[in-house]
């Protein structure tokens, strides 16, 4: 308010001389035009200053402008260098330099000692974006898994997960993302990593604990799954809900490809601990994951996403018996998406399948297992989604035992920040035991949760 009063006062005082001159009728029109122009210029300056203040306020949380090599300056042979450097005179008010306005407040040359985490209100601007996502699940119906089944039924009512996300830009070269999931009885660092966004040659690197890039579902947090549970093949062959989620580093790069194809290669090295899938004994027992992704827009509304994955690590066979026992996973994933741009908030379709082969060394014989799921999810109204999934999977330790299942889901979104889902799940265990369950899920989001990669 004070700012507006100040601006109005400045305008009023600046206009007094012009008003005084309006007594001369022949010049009235010119003077009015000049006055209007001056008001416009002052208005522009106020708006420019407001923008600068907004940018400076947000820049307190952002890093200063990143030092960049100057872009290759296009030659302008038809212009004299001196002329090219000089902007033509203009009546417009001077604008703040975009570079200036995007810089942080701190001046590295000011000599002042930077203060971190000070008690002033402005220090809050430096805090990361914080979000909490609640995942409540209820289950009804019977599900008594056989002794060696990997699928664990949900209890009748459970606050399945509370995921706290903290995300921020760290410095001009990197950003940080932390996702801590609280269960009812424990805490797990689901992901916590730094992403180096400004590496040379187009590389993007991550270091920390992260969900690996094996296939599609392994990378997804619970709250972005289109189902209450995860597919059987994930549970039987890829370590269950946590999947391949380990500490290590990742390097990815887009590979040039013809005809508008997006090709991306990812290589990851982890300590070698991922639930019951990989377990390390020695430091050298690292696990690795490689993923190659090919994506192409078929039309502006339809796209195809294909991937091949490979993972290798030591398994828990090593703990009881001397020697190296390796598990290798091979995966193929395919996703087709349809989302008409003009009605993108009302209708969409995602069809997806993942095929996974597991090769697990164990005593007395190696187990070669295979599994897959196929799913389809259709959004039929702005708030409504329906879907189905078919599961088929051997068990990694007993490849001759095959579980099968099917699920149907109906999801309702009261808003972007909450969703209610019902799922009917049928499971046929290899031991010839069936289960029929009704799962209910409520997901709700608080705060600023960053968008997940496509």
């Amino acid at each position: 308010m004070n700012k507006r009063i100040l601006v109005i006062s400045v305008l009023a005082f600046s206009c007094i001389p012009l008003w005084g001159q309006q007594a001369n009728p022949p010049d009235a029109n010119a003077q009015n035009a000049a006055l209007e122009q001056r008001i416009r210029d002052l208005e522009d300056r106020v708006i420019s200053l407001e923008g600068k203040i907004r940018t400076m306020q947000s820049a307190q949380a952002a890093p200063p402008a990143q030092p960049q090599p100057a872009p290759e300056a296009p030659a302008a042979p038809n212009q004299a260098p001196a002329a090219a450097q000089t902007a033509p005179p203009t009546t417009a008010p001077p604008m703040p330099s975009p570079n200036e306005t995007q810089s942080g407040l701190a001046n590295p040359n000011s000599g002042a000692v930077p203060v971190y985490g000070g008690s002033s209100a402005a220090a809050k601007a430096l805090n990361p974006d914080v979000s909490v996502i609640g995942d409540f699940i209820g289950a009804a119906g019977g599900n008594t898994p056989p002794a060696f089944a990997t699928l664990q039924p949900f209890p009748s009512l459970e606050m399945h997960e509370s995921e706290i996300g903290m995300q921020a830009i760290i410095d001009p070269y990197a950003r940080g993302d932390f996702f801590v999931s609280f269960g009812e009885q424990g805490v797990n660092l689901e992901e916590g990593y730094i992403t180096f966004t400004a590496l040379p040659a187009g590389f993007v690197a991550k270091v920390g604990k992260m969900r690996s890039a094996f296939g599609k579902v392994n990378m997804m947090h619970n709250h972005v799954l289109p189902w209450v549970d995860r597919p059987l093949v994930t549970t039987n062959l890829v370590g269950g809900e946590d999947g391949i989620d380990d500490a290590g580093f990742s390097l990815e790069r887009i590979i040039p490809a013809p005809k508008g194809i997006f090709l991306e290669a990812t290589g990851q090295v982890f300590r070698g601990d991922s639930d019951e899938l990989f377990q390390h004994v020695q430091r050298s027992d690292v696990s690795t994951v490689e993923h190659l992704r090919a994506y192409r827009d078929i039309t502006e509304s339809t796209n195809l996403d294909l991937g091949v994955s490979y993972a290798r690590g030591h398994n828990d066979g090593t703990i009881n018996i001397p020697g190296d026992f390796i598990t290798q996973l091979y995966g193929v994933d395919a996703t087709v998406r349809w989302k008409p741009l003009r009605r993108s908030i009302y209708h969409s379709f995602v069809g997806r399948s993942e095929l996974i082969w597991s090769q697990r060394q164990q005593f007395p014989t190696e187990q070669r297992a295979f599994g897959f799921y196929t799913s389809a999810d259709y959004q039929f109204a702005r708030r409504w989604f329906a879907g189905g999934r078919f599961d088929w999977s051997d068990r990694s330790r007993f490849a001759n035992l095959t579980d099968k299942g099917a699920a149907a889901t109906l999801t309702y979104w009261p808003s972007e920040f909450s969703q209610i889902r019902g799922e009917y799940r049928f499971t046929h265990y290899a031991e010839n035991r069936d289960s029929n369950e009704l799962l209910m899920q409520l997901i709700f989001s608080l705060g600023a949760h960053g968008a997940h990669p496509f």
Partner: protein, 310 residues
């Protein structure tokens, strides 16, 4: 023989230099924008010295764009990324920037431009902001380009940024801006004259994407089809809105091209109001290819609708 090789070497060096000159001459700034409106303004001031492309289409809801990998192919080549800002693209642009592997366009880098810093921003919330207010933008309404004065300010800021990234062409960009400014001033006079008879007229919009346009052309937005920003219409709110429109004698409902017409049509039937699909962005229809045509199109629709509902 030795002389021949010297000559050959000289020719090769000359050819090499010439090829570099050719490359340098052909080199243009690659500008990627989040929306078509920023692309249109960048094209106005960048002319043939830039390649500009928008990620979102003009007929697409800019809040809900899918961050497709094909966008990464464009972003990784970009010298400049222009965003609307004010969290309009918060749901899709940040992961693209992170994944692009392009250090030039990271937030805070010299090749990242948040255009909102140049514009007059309306609807900045005061007091406590909560999600009970819907998908509200805490920094202000991001649909600011629908005011020609903001268009001028944005073009000036973009021209300055282009000149900063490409100093030899700075004067070219400034001249282009001066030309744009003149043409916009003339067009503004025409638009103002067309809208003057309808000053103070009341209307309803589906989403709160019209405040800058309404302010500039002195229109009065009395309500929204959405009960809160981003929240789909509810029966109770629709009934309330119909009552409000009847009381206020409001006879126009403007709908963005990406929203369903079912509820607006029922509101129109209940109030006798005209339902018009207007374009919030360049490229919303094939014939609307630049910033001027956007206003020509929308003002044509609105004046016609006001005439029909006198």
């Amino acid at each position: 023989m030795q002389e021949f090789f010297h000559s050959l070497k000289a020719v090769a060096i000359a050819l090499l230099l010439l090829s570099f000159v050719g490359i340098a001459q052909a080199k243009k700034l690659n500008v990627i924008t989040s929306t078509t409106d920023m692309a249109a303004l960048a094209q106005e001031v960048g002319g043939d010295r830039i390649n500009v492309e928008s990620l979102a289409k003009g007929y697409q809801d800019p809040h809900f764009v899918e961050p497709k990998p094909s966008f990464l192919l464009k972003l990784r080549q970009a010298d400049l990324l222009i965003s609307v800002g004010l969290q309009l693209e918060i749901g899709w642009l940040p992961p693209l920037i992170t994944q692009s592997g392009n250090g030039r366009v990271q937030v805070g880098a010299n090749g990242y431009l948040d255009a909102s810093q140049f514009a007059e921003i309306l609807d900045i919330p005061t007091g406590v902001v909560t999600r009970a207010m819907g998908d509200v933008h805490p920094l202000g309404n991001p649909h600011y380009w629908l005011d020609p004065d903001n268009g001028r300010r944005l073009a000036r800021g973009i021209a300055q940024k282009l000149g900063e990234l490409d100093p030899p062409d700075n004067s070219y960009f400034q001249e282009r801006f001066q030309d744009f400014d003149k043409r916009l001033t003339v067009a503004e006079q025409k638009w103002d004259a067309e809208m003057t008879p309808y000053h103070g007229r009341k209307l309803v919009t589906y989403h709160n994407s019209f405040p800058n346009f309404a302010k500039h052309f002195h229109l009065n937005v009395v309500g929204y089809v959405e009960p809160r920003p981003g929240i789909p219409p509810t029966p109770s709110h629709t009934i309330e809105l119909i009552g409000l429109m009847k009381r206020e004698n409001c006879k126009l409902v403007l709908v963005e091209p990406y929203f369903d017409l079912k509820t607006p049509n029922s509101i129109g039937a209940g109030t006798g109001a005209k339902v018009v699909v207007y374009l919030p962005s360049v490229g919303g229809e094939k014939q609307v290819t630049n910033y001027f045509e956007l206003f020509d199109y929308d003002i044509g629709l609105i004046t016609k609708a006001f005439q029909a509902t006198q």
